[in-house]
């Protein structure tokens, strides 16, 4: 995975997010709180973590990242990128 570019990673995370949120609306809110917009809830967040694990092979524990550091698409991409 080392050769994955930022654009490829963004595309993959956004596909995953669209799938988890069930709404392509999420692509228009790169810097907005997805919990506040009702696009994510606690179960969707769990599905997102499991999805990230399946897709990228990285595991993020439930208490690893405070919610306010993983509540927007940009921040989610950033958290994944940090761990790759």
């Amino acid at each position: 995975m080392a050769e994955m570019t930022h654009e490829e990673l963004t595309a993959k995370v956004m596909d995953l997010l669209e799938d988890v949120c069930g709404d392509d609306e999420v692509r228009r809110h790169m810097d907005d709180d997805l919990f506040g917009l009702d696009l994510l809830d606690s179960i969707a967040a769990v599905e997102l973590l499991v999805g990230i694990e399946d897709e990228f092979g990285i595991s993020i524990a439930p208490t690893e990242v405070p919610r306010n550091e993983m509540n927007t698409p940009d921040k989610i991409i950033d958290q994944v990128e940090k761990r790759l």
């Binding site: 969707a44 439930p62 690893e64």
Partner: protein, 392 residues
């Protein structure tokens, strides 16, 4: 001596705050002082109760060994399960033995020390706590920290250690100290004045022979008085614990946030005994739902959430105690959360009206009645009434 209850404790606390203030205001670390003070006050709480003291020491030795053993190979599932069982063991032994009127391995603070121990085991397994974070003094300080020792709030070890190691500036500490003293006073008023006053009027009675309305009103009044008493007693205690923590430079998390203005049952659990509900969210609910999602055992997000809520609250009920009242209370809230999840995710009516003022007021009113009904299950009022009805 009982922590946050006896006059002797408050005298000791008042005396102990003076050196803490001097150390904090001169920008020195309060950690060593906090450790010694906690050890002394916890020892005083166990004074004259050698069996309980032995139970605590045995717990500390066992859980320390299990945790260090896990930390050497944190990803090992076998070690994780074994360490979790060892850490849970005294609480399980105690809660089960109480059913048989034995109360084996019980000691003051057993529930709360177990929550803290399990958090460390889980986060060590998750790779968030490493061997270098498990220094003996830090570990002991976290577990024995006297303000949170007997009844919470349930702090988290990484957050706690960051505070314990940080040395706040003079101004920062002065702010903490002032807030700490205010919280101690506010908590004392809540617990010793308001809760005591309410308790004076609280006298549960069996269903009498009067007409239905009168009897129902008497029961409702009892349930409300109990709810009010429970809130002021526990929130008062929590504010005092928070205040004492602040005086020692530890920013103890808040436990209550006006729970009776909650507009739905989720909102209630974000406001009532917050450190317990967030502990359960992170270490029970999230783990169960993650497991269900991974294994694809339950289909559909709403169903997964509902199973998670039911299991979560049932476990919370069993934690309170293996009695019909406590388990019933857990089941009651599990069903309420599951039903609320279903309504909020599926009901078009809910989605169309949830922001309307009338709907919010109605939702608040219904939530409050359900919360009070829950307390009457918890207090044993409902089982007493049911028993009375059966026995005539």
């Amino acid at each position: 001596m009982t922590l946050f209850s006896d006059a002797s404790f408050f005298i000791l606390l008042a005396v102990a705050i003076v050196p803490a203030a001097v150390i904090g205001l001169t920008e020195h670390s309060l950690r060593h002082y906090g450790v010694v003070l906690s050890a002394v006050l916890v020892a005083a709480a166990f004074w004259g109760q050698p069996v309980q003291a032995l139970g605590l020491v045995a717990y500390l030795v066992l859980s320390r060994c299990a945790l260090c053993w896990l930390a050497r190979d944190p990803k090992s599932e076998r070690r994780f399960v074994a360490a979790s069982l060892v850490t849970l063991c005294p609480l399980l032994v105690y809660k089960v033995s109480v059913v048989f009127s034995l109360s084996l391995w019980g000691f003051i603070g057993i529930s709360y020390i177990t929550f803290k121990g399990i958090q460390m085991v889980m986060e060590t397994h998750d790779g968030l706590i490493t061997r270098k974070d498990l220094g003996f003094e830090d570990w002991l300080y976290f577990l024995l920290f006297f303000p949170q020792f007997s009844s919470g709030p349930i702090d988290r070890s990484r957050r706690f250690a960051a505070d314990a190691h940080g040395i706040p500036s003079r101004d920062e500490y002065a702010g903490l100290l002032a807030r700490g003293i205010l919280l101690l006073l506010l908590g004392a008023v809540y617990k010793m004045v308001i809760a005591t006053l309410i308790h004076r009027y609280y006298s549960p009675t069996v269903w009498g022979t009067g007409d239905f309305g009168t009897e129902l009103w008497a029961q409702v009044k009892t349930a409300y008085l109990y709810g009010g008493y429970l809130f002021f007693d526990f929130a008062g205690y929590s504010f005092m614990a928070m205040g004492a923590s602040y005086c020692l430079g530890i920013r103890c998390p808040r436990n209550f946030r006006a729970p009776f203005i909650a507009t739905d049952i989720f909102d209630f659990w974000n406001r009532w005994h917050i450190t317990l509900s967030t502990w359960f969210r992170d270490f029970v609910f999230m783990r169960i739902t993650r497991w269900l999602v991974r294994r694809k055992i339950v289909k559909g997000r709403v169903r997964v959430a509902q199973c998670g809520f039911l299991a979560n609250m049932l476990i919370m009920g069993f934690w309170h105690g293996i009695t019909i009242d406590y388990v019933g209370y857990g089941l009651f809230h599990g069903v309420l959360l599951a039903a609320t999840e279903g309504i909020q995710k599926r009901s078009r009516f809910y989605k169309a009206h949830r922001h309307d003022l009338w709907f919010r007021i109605l939702s608040w009113f219904v939530t409050l009645q359900l919360v009070i009904l829950g307390f009457s299950i918890f207090s044993g009022q409902i089982s007493m009434l049911v028993e009375g009805a059966i026995n005539g």
